[in-house]
Amino acid sequence: MTAGDEAAAVISLRGLCKSYEEGGRRRTILEEVDLDVAPGELVALLGRSGSGKSTLLNLVGGMDRPDRGSIVAAGRDLVRLDEAALATYRRERVGFVFQFFNLIPTLTVLENVRLKAELVGLPVAEQNERARALLAEVGLEDREGAWPDRLSGGEQQRVAIAAALVHDPEIVLADEPTGNLDLDTGRRVMELLDRLCRARGKCLLLATHSAEVMGVADRVLGIEHGRLVPREAEP
């Protein structure tokens, strides 16, 4: 990336360090990580369990704080934001897709998808319109009144993808989105996530340990000893 690209990046990490206390010892997870992700770019983070992929996503998602370094995402310097401002950032600028879906069990499919649109203050008619359009795109338009626990894993993940995009965020963070799905379902979910993000020009940062889903990424980065290492994407 050039300096101009850097300025245009939706996510820009500089000298990012993160470590955890573990059994009385300090364990370094991320060390001097630099990364720029452009709008509409799909970046995959590949690595073993515990390598720091989720930690990186949590830092970019404003759910965790770094020991050192800077995180500028969607024009905000996350290190300088307080808890309330981070919550607003997560609400307005980021869409999350998790391995275990994290749908709200007391809300129906439509209500789960609509929730973030509601949180950002869209009019009710627009909330419903957007939520229904996304449910149609993920092929669940006939399940809008169902409870999450009545859906299969693949269906729940499709609902989570719709919910992550309903409020039109600049950044989508997906942490092992296929990790709890069988191979075939995982591939279809990955294709769906890729298609929807690209169609909307969203920047997608994806953490996975499965090389199978790497083919869709623009850029593949490995995490080794806390540092980002470029990897070749599968053709």
């Binding site: 949590n58 998602g61 759910m63 965790d64 808890e83 309330a84 919550a87 607003t88 997560r90 609400r91 307005e92 999350f96 998790f98 275990f100 994290n102 749908l103 709200i104 069990p105 007391t106 809300l107 209500e111 929730l115 973030k116 509601e118 949180l119 919910a163």
Partner: protein, 379 residues
């Protein structure tokens, strides 16, 4: 933030647990309200303004009202004393002299004097018929409601068999629990004919400040007679008669407080369990942008919603118990009705809300402070 929807849905999701907590809370509030309603009834009984102007004359050293036998002619002599406005001879007939939940109190009085001295008002029936027929009776509306007595029927207890010709309301709450008959009828009706004797005299004084002096004058008047008297202001008599009741009530209030503590523990258990099992869900809420105060609001909101529902159910149960349970606590012929006032409803609701607030405060604070990353890792 759709709080209402989320709160309702979550309570419904764990419906058995919610119902059990709600049921426990309702029982605690119902018991609390019932105990407090007796306290309010007692306050009401002791708070009538007519009682401050009235003296009660009994036979000295009597054990129970029914062991007090005073000559009826004492009324004439008492009425001649300075400061006495009027004297009402009263013959009492009780089913039980001790503390009882179902006391029946007949009071036989000269009808004309009684109507002048007591502030009663007929809510149904025929006053002229009461004045005309010697075995007619007027029933206080509290007693009538408890026993389901209506005008036109006969009411019988032991040798006393009266025709109910009217239901009345009274200025003094204790008087709404009695049955008024003709004096002579009751004097003759007991197992022993007591014509010419009465149980007590109700003496109305001109000036409440002089009640003590008039009481002394009455007792001095009959000090050397065959039947000496013991005269006390009606308030003092009521306080003395209800002393045991107030002791019981004191214990009852400890019981009521225990109910509040049980409600607190019950609510605490439910809220803590709810928060523990929703740790991941709260993490998901925080991820999508709910702030810490919103999470605390969800936990507190659920506890308060349960409290309001539990209090409403409990107060409904207490109302049913008081309205249809047919209970009033009586002692020595004085009956104290359970009194559910709007203030008491407020207290019951406040108790439930305070319990909910105390039970949910710490769990809400902890839920608000969860580590989002850790919460999302929770299985």
């Amino acid at each position: 933030m759709r709080y209402g929807l989320l709160l309702r849905r979550n309570l419904f999701r764990r419906r058995l647990r919610s119902l059990l907590t709600l049921g426990g809370l309702a029982c605690a509030v119902a018991l609390f309200a019932t105990v407090e309603s007796l306290n309010d009834g007692l306050e009401k009984a002791l708070g009538g303004d007519q009682a401050r102007r009235t003296l009660v004359v009994y036979r000295k050293n009597r054990y129970c009202p029914q062991t007090s036998h005073l000559p009826e002619y004492y009324a004439r002599e008492i009425s001649r004393l300075d400061g006495v406005s009027s004297v009402l001879p009263v013959k009492l007939f009780l089913n039980n002299c001790r503390t009882s939940l179902d006391m029946i109190t007949f009071q036989g009085t000269p009808v004309e004097t009684m109507l002048k001295q007591r502030r009663i008002e007929l809510v149904s029936g025929d006053l002229a018929r009461f004045e005309r027929e010697p075995d007619a009776a007027l029933v206080g509306r509290g007693f009538a409601a408890r026993r389901g007595i209506t005008v036109g029927e006969n009411f019988r207890f032991s040798n006393v068999n009266v025709k109910v010709v009217g239901i009345f309301r009274a200025a003094e709450s204790t008087e709404e629990e009695i049955i008024l008959t003709h004096l002579e009828y009751l004097q003759r009706a007991g197992p022993v004919n007591r014509l010419g004797t009465v149980t007590q005299f109700d003496v109305l004084v001109d000036d409440p400040d002089r009640a003590g002096a008039v009481a002394t004058a009455i007792d001095e008047l009959f000090a050397d007679s065959e039947e000496p008297t013991d005269t006390r202001p009606k308030i003092a008599f009521l306080e003395s008669a209800t002393r045991d009741l107030r002791e019981i009530l004191r214990f009852g209030r400890i019981f009521g407080l225990s109910c509040a503590l049980v409600a607190l523990a019950l609510m605490g258990g439910t809220v803590v369990m709810g928060v523990q099992e929703r740790y991941r869900e709260f993490g998901a809420f925080r991820t999508i942008g709910y702030k810490a105060r919103h999470i605390a609001g969800l936990v507190l909101g659920e506890a308060f919603l349960l409290a309001v529902l539990g209090a409403a159910t409990g107060l409904g149960l207490a109302t049913l118990l008081v309205a249809f349970g047919g209970i009033a606590v009586g002692v020595e012929g004085v009956q104290v009705a359970f009194s559910l006032t709007p203030m008491l409803f407020g207290k019951g609701l406040a108790m439930a809300l305070i319990c909910a607030g105390l039970a949910a405060a710490v769990p809400a604070w902890r839920a608000a402070r969860i580590d989002v990353v850790q919460a999302l890792r929770t299985i």
